[in-house]
Symmetry: C2
Subunit: 146 residues, 2 copies
Amino acid sequence: MTVPDQRLEQMIAAMQRAGRRLTPQRLAVLRLLAQGPGHPSVEQLHAAVAAQFPSTSLATTYKTLAMLKELGQVLELAFADGGCRYDGRRPYPHPHVICTRCGAIEDPEYSSMERLYQEMTEKSGFAISHHRLDFFGLCPRCRGEG
Amino acid sequence: MTVPDQRLEQMIAAMQRAGRRLTPQRLAVLRLLAQGPGHPSVEQLHAAVAAQFPSTSLATTYKTLAMLKELGQVLELAFADGGCRYDGRRPYPHPHVICTRCGAIEDPEYSSMERLYQEMTEKSGFAISHHRLDFFGLCPRCRGEG
DNA sequence: ATCATTGCAAATACTTTGCAGCGTT
DNA sequence: AACGCTGCAAAGTATTTGCAATGAT
């Protein structure tokens, strides 16, 4: 069983636990999030789902994402321009690197999260529970293109 | 001259450099950003400006903030719920700690930014230029209230 | 006096919601 | 069979824009 399939199983299990129904439209969204490329937008997801089920509405895509968010099965990355991207593979907070030219989003490994939480906790006195870390710049490909 | 006054002077100087006019409405916005409390929302800024110039429109507040953003004189913090908060004191990227109960935003000192950039650069290969670091949790006051 | 800025209102873009009918469980 | 889900369209919400009048330089 591949890793993406594990994610799909996890998502389905979470839905069953919560008593949510697994419709074909929803299954298509789950598959895309678990197995599809990187960090899709709502429109991209909707277009891909509509390719399989042409009648699928944008509203249903939004509703499915809202449900998955509620179940903690997808990480929503809202950006300043109003757009959102979704990460179904790693639905927990983690750092992102975002290309300011082509929009690519990557998930680099990061080893010092504990240290970071510790420093923020010490300096602020907050009980920190989660985070959002975004780094912006040019990806290797776009760097090369001057 | 106090530190907030320095910020006000910097903002005004940046506007003059760019050939922008300093209207009473704009001055009121600048003052609030440079001297007022923490991280106001557009509505809060508009309400405060309207207290001095009742006819001031929300559109003008938006336009003024857009101009300041363009001049690099204010940091816009867009959140997932669609709301924005503005930081006129420290208009450059820096970490924030946000209380998930009362919405308070603080700017803790942070010492390891270079290290962080270095690790992200190494792991991703990106040429990183700026960032957005948000930590969420309960502030000391809200922790106490159970 | 010039022309950027203002304020109103309409437009935009995105997301949410109400509801009748459908289809999974 | 029950009732959660879908799809349509309408309603929100937050921000932007067009334009005539205003006012800072």
